[in-house]
């Protein structure tokens, strides 16, 4: 986690028609192998940030460097090879008529040879546990399954970074867990860097680091523990604090000696049911 994989330096951006800056002087680094969550309310600029990272827009001021390459119109296809993106709506990113065609789409675009392609399609679908759906059509799949196919399409291209742009926000809790579990496994096995853009702090609580965005500015940057210390401030930014964090805070106010902020339900339950024996 020493060398920055992505560097943002004083990045500013605004959409043509609007007077206000969508992103205002943003600087931070993303390190190799980490899971970074970018959180913020609607209109905080987090999605614009994702579009900039993938070269769908270019910064008006400042610079973005991906894996040593400075992002510009000339280098955008180069950097896109390093970054795979999974978008919000599962339907609107499914290009192929069947699962295997969809995974192959990105490979076809990059001119990968057919034999290699067949192998990579099989491998990637195995990785996301969708092998048994090879010839299935998209309208027969659930949202979570479609997102896993999208992830397979991304990893088939072997990128260094995977960006989840609100990828779980349209899914039911089960689909969400499926997708996140898949990404966690990939991160572990392939040492990928994950950038997840979300307004769900529960999801963000499992990240290594969190960047909080507000009104186009970088509001705070830190580990989940540090970020959740902000408490009321987060609520003011329009973000909902995860239930275990909320509960542990209230318990502490009631005088229960909890040792720290809890980010996951399991941890909290563990502390609570053993607390009596410790007293």
């Amino acid at each position: 986690m020493t060398e920055p994989l992505v560097e943002l330096k004083n990045v500013s951006f605004k959409y043509d028609a609007e007077a206000a800056y969508a992103l205002d002087n943003i600087s931070f680094n993303i390190f190799k192998g980490e899971w970074l969550a970018i959180v913020g309310h609607n209109g905080s600029g987090k999605s614009t940030l994702a579009k900039l990272l993938n070269g769908l827009h270019f910064p008006l001021e400042g610079s973005i460097t991906v894996g040593g390459i400075s992002l510009s119109e000339e280098t955008v296809w180069e950097t896109r090879k390093k970054i795979g993106m999974v978008f919000q709506n599962p339907d609107n990113q499914f290009v192929g008529t069947t699962v295997r065609d969809d995974v192959a789409f990105g490979l076809e675009n990059h001119g990968i040879e057919r034999n290699d392609m067949v192998q990579r399609v099989t491998e990637s679908l195995e990785k996301v546990k969708m092998s048994s759906f090879l010839n299935q059509e998209p309208h027969h799949l659930s949202g979570g399954q479609k997102q896993r196919v999208a992830i397979a399409g991304v990893i088939a291209l072997r990128p260094d970074i995977i960006i989840l742009d609100e990828s779980t926000s349209m899914l039911d809790p089960r689909g969400r867990e499926e997708v996140l579990e898949t990404v966690r496994e990939l991160k572990r096995d392939y040492h990928m860097t994950v950038i997840s853009i979300t307004h769900d702090l529960e999801e963000a609580s499992k990240a290594d680091r969190i960047v909080v965005m507000n009104k186009g500015e970088l509001y705070r940057e830190g580990t989940p523990e540090e970020i959740f210390q902000m408490d009321e401030e987060l609520v003011k930014l329009g973000l909902d604090i995860p239930f275990p964090v909320k509960l542990s805070k209230i318990l502490r106010e009631k005088g229960l000696p909890l040792s720290r902020h809890y980010l996951s339900e399991e941890e909290l339950v563990e502390e609570l049911w053993t607390s009596h024996s410790k007293m």
Binding site: N54, L56, F87, D91, Q93, G96, E137, V154, L157
Partner: protein
């Protein structure tokens, strides 16, 4: 809703016809449409009919599916028959009843032309019954490839076709959803005079259009982020392979044409 769709008519089965190269199927159908016009007597029409039914038997598609596919056009075939029967006034009079007079030539032409029509429909529906739409798209793309030289956007056309095919079920589901939502708000799609019913479709179409444009935009972004930059330098995952069976089918059709030419009067 999907059952009524003409594209949903593909019947999966393991047969020689199913496994043929879509290119050869497309070309063969085209040639068949041409040679049908060679037939002009009982023997040649008989041969064509035998050939057509032999192909249907080879395809292993149940007759039931073929019949349901034919039902809407059958009326047109019968209409053609009657048109010729009543309007052709050549040859000997066969039958006279009141103001209806049927001539020999009328009967002959009526039967032959409606049979020709019938066989054409059978063969073309056999194509869609045994070939998935995406295979047809691939076949067309490959066949039209030479047109690339005159700057005809073959790849773009094929991509457009395959994306439309991919989105047909999605948009159907969406239409269904919007319809239910509007019904819940009191919209009535099923009763009232025609004018009212056409009006009722507007609140269905507008949301559908708006969401389609949004989908298109998101899809374009997703495609670009996956490295799509036009047809150049692209490899293909689905591959077409010309086999012995394709050559054999061509030989068979050539033989049939030859016989037709020899036997026609």
């Amino acid at each position: 809703m999907m059952d009524k769709m003409i594209f949903g008519r593909y019947v999966p089965a393991e047969s020689v016809i199913h496994r043929m190269d879509p290119r050869s199927k497309l070309v063969l159908i085209f040639l068949f449409v041409c040679i049908v016009f060679l037939a002009n007597n009982l023997l040649t029409y008989g041969l064509l009919t035998v050939y057509t039914f032999f192909m249907i038997a080879l395809s292993k598609v149940p007759i039931r599916f073929i019949y349901t596919g034919l039902k809407p056009v059958l009326l047109l075939v019968i209409f053609t028959l009657f048109l010729h029967l009543f309007l052709t006034k050549e040859g000997e009079v066969l039958f006279r009843f009141g103001w209806i007079t049927i001539y020999e030539e009328g009967l002959r032409q009526g039967i032959f032309i409606s049979l020709r029509f019938f066989l054409l429909i059978l063969m073309t529906s056999l194509l869609t019954l045994t070939t998935t739409p995406i295979e047809i798209t691939d076949g067309l793309e490959s066949l039209l490839n030479p047109l690339n030289k005159v700057k005809f956007p073959v790849h773009e056309l094929a991509l457009m076709m395959s994306i439309s095919l991919r989105f047909i079920p999605t948009l159907m589901q969406e239409t269904d959803k919007i319809m239910k939502a509007q019904t819940a708000r009191g919209a009535d799609f099923t009763s009232g005079p025609l004018k009212e019913r056409v009006k009722a479709i507007i609140p269905l179409l507008i949301p559908l259009f708006v969401s389609s444009f949004k989908r298109a935009e998101e899809l374009a972004v997703a495609m670009e982020s996956r490295g799509y930059r036009g047809g150049e330098g692209r490899t293909k995952y689905r591959q077409l392979s010309w086999g012995l069976k394709d050559t054999a089918m061509f030989a068979m059709l050539a033989a049939l044409s030859l016989v037709l030419i020899l036997l026609r009067t």
